[in-house]
Subunit: 114 residues, 2 copies
C-alpha cells in the first residue's frame, strides 16, 4: 500500500508546447509504485491553459477537483465544474480548456489492460 | 463522453451491515456508461463509519476528497488526509475508517482488465 499527498508529487510539463499551454502533470500512481493495471495523475491547467485535442485507444476517467473549464469532443463543448466526473471512451477526441480565473485541477485515471 | 456531478449520482449502501458501518457508494462511471476497462465510485463514510477489512484480486486507486481517516492493511494503520492518493495492490488486505467529525469522502477507481 502506498499513500502520499498529491501536492508533494513532482510536477512537470504534461504536453509539448506546440499544441498545449500551461498544463502540468503529477503522476501519483504508476508502474513505479507497483501498479500494473492503472495510472493516476493530477493535471493542473493555468487560467489560460489547454490540452491538445487528442485521442487514444484507452478509456479514461476524469474528476474535477477544483476550478472550472470545458471539455471539447471535437464538435461540442461541455462545461466542467468542481466535483464533475467525466468518462472519456476509447478513441474519443477530447480537449480540456481552463475557462476560469484560477487553476483547473483534474484527477485522471487510465486503466492499463495488457 | 459522459459528464455528471457526482453529488447527483444515486447514493446507496456500500457493504453488508455485518462488517461495515455508515458507508455509502455512488457509482459514477460503470458499464452502464459504456466503460469497459474501469469503474469510478465515490464512497462516503459517516463520522463513525468503516468498511470491512477485505481484499480482492484487482488493484485500486483511492483519492481522499475531504475528511480524515485511516487505512488499515491488516497490520499497520496509515493516516488519510485530504488530497492523499492511495494505491492498493491486488490481494492486499485493507480497511478504511473515518476518524474525523465530518464525512470522509473518497474517490475509488478500479480497473477491469478481462
Amino acid at each position: 500500500m502506498k499513500i502520499r499527498n498529491y501536492t508533494r508529487v513532482e510536477r512537470r510539463d504534461a504536453f509539448l508546447k506546440e499544441n498545449a499551454k500551461g498544463v502540468s502533470i503529477r503522476v501519483a500512481i504508476s508502474e513505479e509504485d507497483g501498479a500494473q493495471t492503472l495510472t493516476m495523475s493530477i493535471f493542473e491547467l493555468d487560467p489560460d491553459g489547454y490540452t491538445p485535442l487528442h485521442e487514444h485507444s484507452h478509456e479514461h476517467a476524469v474528476f474535477v477537483l477544483r476550478g472550472s473549464g470545458k471539455m471539447i469532443d471535437g464538435k461540442k463543448e461541455h462545461i466542467l465544474s468542481k466535483d464533475d466526473v467525466v468518462f472519456v471512451p476509447a478513441n474519443q477526441k477530447h480537449q480540456i480548456k481552463n475557462t476560469g480565473d484560477s487553476v483547473l485541477t483534474l484527477i485522471n485515471v487510465v486503466p492499463i489492460c495488457k
